[in-house]
Amino acid sequence: MLSFSPFLGYSFQEIQSILVMQGFAGLSLFSVLLLMALGLAIIFGQMGVVNLAHGEFMALGAYMVYLCSQIVQDHFPSLAPYYFVIAIVIAFFVAGLVGALVEWTMIRFLYRRPLDTLLATWGLSLIMQQAFRSIFGAREVTPTLPEWLMGSFKPTENIDIPINGVFVMALSLFMVGAVTFFMFRSRMGLHMRATVQNRAMSGAVGINTALVDRLTFALGCGIAGVAGAAFTTIGSTGPDSGSRYIVDTFLVVVFGGAANMIGTIVSSFGIAQAQSVSEFFLEGTMGKVTTLMVIVLILMIRPQGLFPSKVRS
């Protein structure tokens, strides 16, 4: 991630440029947060399940991309420019499969016990983190990114827009679009929404609610996997990379109103930008601290978030 020294000593034009670039850094963060929040909102907003291991599914996706990168480098060097997109797809499916497995072995017993799912998924995150440590090592790794993702383009002399940032944002918006389409236009999406709103009736009309639950959870995890793939373009991956974003992601989801696509988008944008800008003006961690504090204060005053669902319970 970009780091900056105090802004005194820069000209006004330079500060403008810095803010634009910082804004773009914020956009990369926004994209990752958005993807994470999307997956989590589906799981939490739709199913009421709290997945504290969500960050680890992101890391899983990132590690899958890394693995693909290593395999391609060692065995199929000619595929180097093309592998990345395939790796993203692989990340999605691997994370989704692991998610389905987790749902089958653990989550499905805990649906009416949200506090217990908190603790159980925390345990899962510990296990996954250690598994990453054992398999991939404790040091951070980066996949070899393809040529076309490197570099930047310069609209003006002072502004440097990294291509990977643009790619990541495009990826996120694509995923949001794809998921929205899936949830609201496809048959399975309809089944998913029906199961959440009225489980008994859905079962009575022949929807296999257990399978729907599994797929919903797997979808949420798969999206986290894609977030991980996106993450590899802006940072290196270590066993605890996931835990870095989990609190932020939760706050994004809760802040946005949990049940709501637009809320999630607005919320992740706002929080990412706030963090990015405040990181510039305040030193290091204090930027994050301030952002978090503001969010928590707002949540204490307005616990239902920005766009609460107005359903009569």
Binding site: T117, L119, Q130, M286, V289, M293, M300
Partner: protein
């Protein structure tokens, strides 16, 4: 006399439980362990304060806080500040650019003691702060959230965020708080050297006594109408409002009381271990402390203490021999407790006892039991282990 027995000790059975714990803590362990390991047990006992608080808050009121490290840390930092100031006398710090202030402030080119540190020159103030500061923060945070009916998962995640905020805040302000390294190199408490072996023995016993004191206080609270009310809130919070109670104020009470206990634990930690750092304040330690209560039994005060000792002993055994396996084991513990042993070891113990009693009863009077509902021993009557 009998009612005191019932309230504080939980009946004859409860008294036996406390006596057993006291025996183990005050006699068995000091006699069988060397001072180094005893000091370790003392450290584990300080985590026990948090676990006991969680029995009140989580087991009995149904409120899961993933941020108890906040209060543990606040209590620890309060006493650490006093001890650090004492250790940073002008004589001890003569080689600093500014003598008389803690070393980390000197490294950060700070030239006079920040205002927030000044009151901690006084021991009475520091001791009061150890209990009152966590209580006050819990009161404010709890009131803000419970009055707005923020509960369950939302509350848990926000406490997590608060723990993160505090640990990052401490971490990022080395000049004020000692930063990531924390406050170290503590020497004397009002002239008494806390690093000597004899001091460690004394502190161990003080810690044990305070912990048992917290258990007795919790027992008392749970034996009053408050105890039944907290259980009712855990069961059916909305209904309790319609019984005429302001639910928020009870949750605030439980939260504040548990915070006070965490603060005491934090202070005893600093006195026995000799330092405090943000690593005891953040998300990871806070959730870990939850597992101590969960393993021991979140409905059982004594169980929580045993759970803390067990998990921490396991942790250091694993770290000595198979450090890579510990996170797998701990993760598995979280999952196992949630899915298989929701009331921890104490819960397993309790259900074994109930089944044993039922077997004995049914052996004695088989025919008469046909019509009456087979109700197991009421959960609350003197069954607190």
């Amino acid at each position: 006399m009998k009612s005191i027995l019932r309230k504080f000790l939980g009946g004859r059975e409860g008294a036996v439980g406390i006596a057993l714990l006291a025996l183990i803590v005050f006699a068995v362990l000091p006699m069988t362990l060397d001072i180094f390991r005893l000091n370790l047990v003392g450290k584990y006992l300080t985590y026990g304060f948090v676990a006991v608080g969680l029995v009140l808050l989580w087991g009995n009121s149904g409120v899961l806080s993933l941020g108890q490290g906040i209060f543990f840390g606040l209590g620890g930092y309060c006493i650490a500040m006093f001890l650090k100031l004492e250790a940073s006398s002008p004589a001890n710090t003569a080689i600093q650019s500014t003598p008389g202030i803690p070393d980390f402030m000197d490294w950060n080119q700070i030239t006079h003691l920040p205002a927030i540190w000044v009151p901690f020159r006084s021991l009475p103030f520091a001791l009061l702060a150890v209990i009152l500061l966590p209580t006050l923060i819990a009161f404010i945070v709890g009131a803000a959230m419970f009055k707005r009916r923020v509960g369950g998962v939302y509350f848990a995640v926000i406490t997590q965020a608060l723990a993160l905020i505090l640990s990052l805040g401490i971490d990022g302000n080395q000049g004020l708080t000692g930063g990531r390294n924390g406050i170290t190199d503590l020497r004397t408490l009002w002239g008494w050297d806390i690093r000597t072996q004899s001091a460690q023995y004394v502190l161990y016993y003080v810690c044990g006594a305070l912990l048992i004191g917290c258990i007795l206080i919790s027992r008392w609270v749970l034996s009053t109408r408050m105890g039944r009310l907290l259980l009712a809130i855990k069961d059916r919070e909305d209904r309790v409002r319609f019984s005429g109670y302001d639910v928020a104020s009870f949750k605030v009470f439980a939260f504040s009381l548990s915070a006070a206990m965490c603060g005491i634990g934090g202070a005893m930690f600093v006195l026995q271990v000799g330092f405090i750092s943000p690593s005891l304040v953040g998300i990871v330690p806070s959730i870990e402390m939850v597992i101590y209560a969960a393993v021991g039994g979140k409905m059982s005060l004594l169980g929580a203490v045993y759970g803390t000792l067990a998990v921490n002993t396991g942790k250091s055994l694993f770290s000595e021999n198979f450090p890579q396996l510990w996170p797998f084991f701990m993760g598995g513990l979280f999952i196992a407790v949630v899915m298989l042993f929701p009331n921890g070891i104490a819960g397993v113990w309790q259900s074994m006892r109930v089944r044993f009693i039922q077997l004995r009863h049914s052996a004695k009077r088989a025919p008469a039991l046909a019509s009456a509902p087979s109700a197991p021993t009421p959960l609350l009557e003197g069954s607190e282990v």
